[in-house]
């Protein structure tokens, strides 16, 4: 069981420590001979019940003196302290683990491996299948002459490589986004534990110092808390570094994330109330760090989606329009060996595209990092932006695969017709060109 899983136990410790501190500021310490109760100065005949080990109960007067009768129970104040801590920690006790990001991260990684285009990313084991098969087809196409050679070379080889490598990069960005979320939440959980532990230690230390007779002087214990709470900053930068490592190609984003100022967790003060305020401040700083990173991820994803929709032809082969190609002098020079190699190579590309589409799977149906709305950039986090890119990439990949299959069919038909009449072949090319002009399915995003 991780420390975060036992946050309830830590919260109980915080409550008891906070109440001890509050009472110590009023001169009440755990009784020197019975730590179940508070006594004025630790021993005088003025007692209150102390909360139990879970920080619950306590506050009722246990001695009857004129002073006590005037003061009555402090149980309502104890309840108020506990309620305040519960309120401050609302939501922080139900943070996501990030584990649900593992599956989409893995799928995006697999798609990238098949599509290529992100060879600089260490996590991707690029198969190079599409590149190698396409280069084979291109080499053989160079040996052919005929009106259809140019269009086939331009679209189904050169542009195909652009599209698949760009799509590979998009899936890498998705992988990085899910990796970032997967890394961020365990770090955030650790930070919550560290902050709560520091707060408990601050209250305990403060109560101890007061008990040692230091009541009227200034204290240094909270300075130690500031050091511990600085883990907020450490974790923030660390999480950003994780994003950076995965998506090293997105240098601007990495730079932005790395420079995030997560130093808002600075703690100062030397009373129960000031430590409480510091706790609020530290959690606020942590929240700002989480939100800033998610905002950066969202910005990154939005830019990706924007690039895809504005340069669609570079992400979707079906959206690529052929330039005008001269039909030439009508002569053709084609041999079976080359065309067989080309169609075999195109078959391998077709298979790899189909495999990539299967590997890509689908984005998570619901937010894989569900959290209370007050934490991070909102209830959805980066889910909507990531799903938008994911769905769009899948659509592009699907259209590209379908278009490639159609292109391969046209090539095969053109080759078959060559051996009958070159005019037929020219007709096929004309058909191909006219279909391209339609740019059918993917005219725009969404």
């Amino acid at each position: 069981m991780s420390d975060y899983d036992d946050l309830g136990g830590l919260v109980a410790r915080m409550k008891k420590a906070a109440i001890d501190c509050y009472m110590a500021e009023d001169g009440f310490n755990p009784h020197w001979n019975d730590n179940q109760k508070y006594a004025k100065w630790g021993w005088a005949y003025h007692h209150y019940a102390r909360p139990d080990a879970n920080g619950e109960g306590g506050g009722s007067p246990l001695t009857a003196t004129t002073t006590l009768e005037a003061q009555g129970s402090v149980a309502p104040r104890f309840d108020e302290i506990r309620s305040t801590i519960d309120t401050i920690l609302t939501g922080w006790d139900t943070l996501p683990s990030g584990a649900l990001c593992r599956a989409p991260q893995s799928s995006a990684n697999a798609a990238t491996a098949l599509l290529g285009g992100a060879a600089s990313v260490a996590t991707v084991n690029d198969s190079d299948e599409i590149v190698r098969a396409t280069e084979t087809a291109m080499a053989s196409l160079n040996d052919l002459a005929g009106s259809f050679v140019g269009p086939v070379y331009d679209k189904y080889c050169a542009q195909l490589l652009t599209v698949t490598q760009n799509l590979g990069t998009v899936y890498t960005i998705l992988e990085a986004q899910y990796a970032a979320q997967q890394a961020m939440w365990p770090a955030a959980r650790e930070d919550v534990v560290a902050i709560c532990t520091s707060a408990a230690a601050a209250w305990e230390g403060r109560a101890a110092e007061i008990a040692a007779g230091a009541r009227q002087d200034s204290f240094t214990v909270v300075a130690a808390v500031a050091g511990a709470v600085a883990t907020v900053a450490t974790a923030g930068v660390g999480t950003a570094a994780t994003v950076g490592a995965v998506g090293a190609f997105a240098s601007t984003t990495v730079s932005t994330l790395s420079s995030l100022d997560a130093s808002g967790g600075h703690v100062s003060g030397d009373t129960y109330a000031e430590i409480l305020a510091s706790l609020v401040g530290a959690l606020g700083a942590l929240n700002e760090t989480i939100a800033a990173q998610e905002l950066e991820l969202n910005r990154w994803l939005d830019e990706t989606l924007n690039a895809m929709s504005t340069q669609l032809a570079d992400y979707n082969l079906d959206a690529f329009t052929l330039a005008d190609f001269s039909a030439g002098d009508g002569s053709s020079s084609i041999n079976r060996t080359d065309t067989d190699m080309i169609t075999t190579a195109m078959g391998r590309v077709e298979g790899a595209l189909s495999e990539a589409l299967r590997a890509a799977g689908a984005p998570p149906v619901s937010n894989p990092t569900p959290r209370p709305h007050a934490i991070g950039v909102g209830l959805a986090g980066t889910h909507l932006a990531a799903s938008g890119v994911y769905d769009y990439a899948n659509q592009c990949l699907q259209s590209t695969a379908a278009e490639y299959t159609r292109g391969r069919g046209l090539f095969d038909a053109a080759v078959a017709d060559y051996f009958n009449t070159d005019a037929e072949s020219q007709l096929k090319v004309t058909t191909l060109l006219s279909q391209e002009a339609l740019i059918a399915e993917m005219g725009g995003r969404g």
Binding site: D26, G27, N29, P30, W32, N33, A39, K40, W41, G42, W43, A44, Y45, H46, T63, T65, T66, T67, A211, A212, G213, A214, R215, Q216, D217
Partner: protein
């Protein structure tokens, strides 16, 4: 006239001594007037809360006295405590009668009570109870100090007597 008034000792009027302030008064304890001294380390922070602490300490003199006598009884055999020598004298004076530390502690008379309600980093002491055997001089006072938060402590013999 001070604005701060104790239920037991009336208006708090400090003598303005160096490094703080003090007030001499007395309390009634088991039918006898016992000198009381109140020492304030931080006069400028003196307020109702401090006066309330003084009254609480005086309210519970019986309880504090009981704790003090238990502490003395438990410490009479420890060499070096301020109770060891008076106990030895008391025991010798009893001749053949058996010596009982509890009886010894019960036989002591409270000579003086000192309250230090606001303390400070160097002064965790909150109350001092000073005793001696009846019909003896104050040559060998027995002092129990009540510290925050550790409780009663029998003073060593070399502590400067406060009586």
């Amino acid at each position: 006239m001070s604005d701060l008034v104790s239920r037991h000792v009336g208006p708090i009027v400090l003598d303005g001594g160096i490094g703080g302030g003090a007030m001499e008064s007395q309390i009634r304890f088991t039918g006898t007037a016992v000198p009381l001294r109140i020492e304030i380390d931080f006069p400028h922070r003196m307020n109702e809360s401090v006066v309330q602490d003084i009254d609480t300490a005086i309210d519970s003199t019986d309880y504090t006295d009981r704790l003090a006598r238990q502490t003395i009884a438990a410490g009479v055999h420890r060499t070096g405590t301020c109770a060891a020598k008076p106990y030895a004298s008391w025991t010798a004076a009893r001749g053949e009668r058996p010596a009982d530390p509890t009886e010894f502690a019960g036989a002591l008379t409270l000579r003086r009570m000192i309250i230090f309600p606001d303390g400070g980093r160097n002064n965790p002491e909150r109350v001092a109870m000073i005793y001696s055997l009846p019909d003896t001089s104050d040559e060998h006072p027995i002092e129990v100090r009540f510290l925050q938060p550790s409780g009663p402590e029998l003073c060593p013999v070399n502590v400067r007597p406060r009586v």
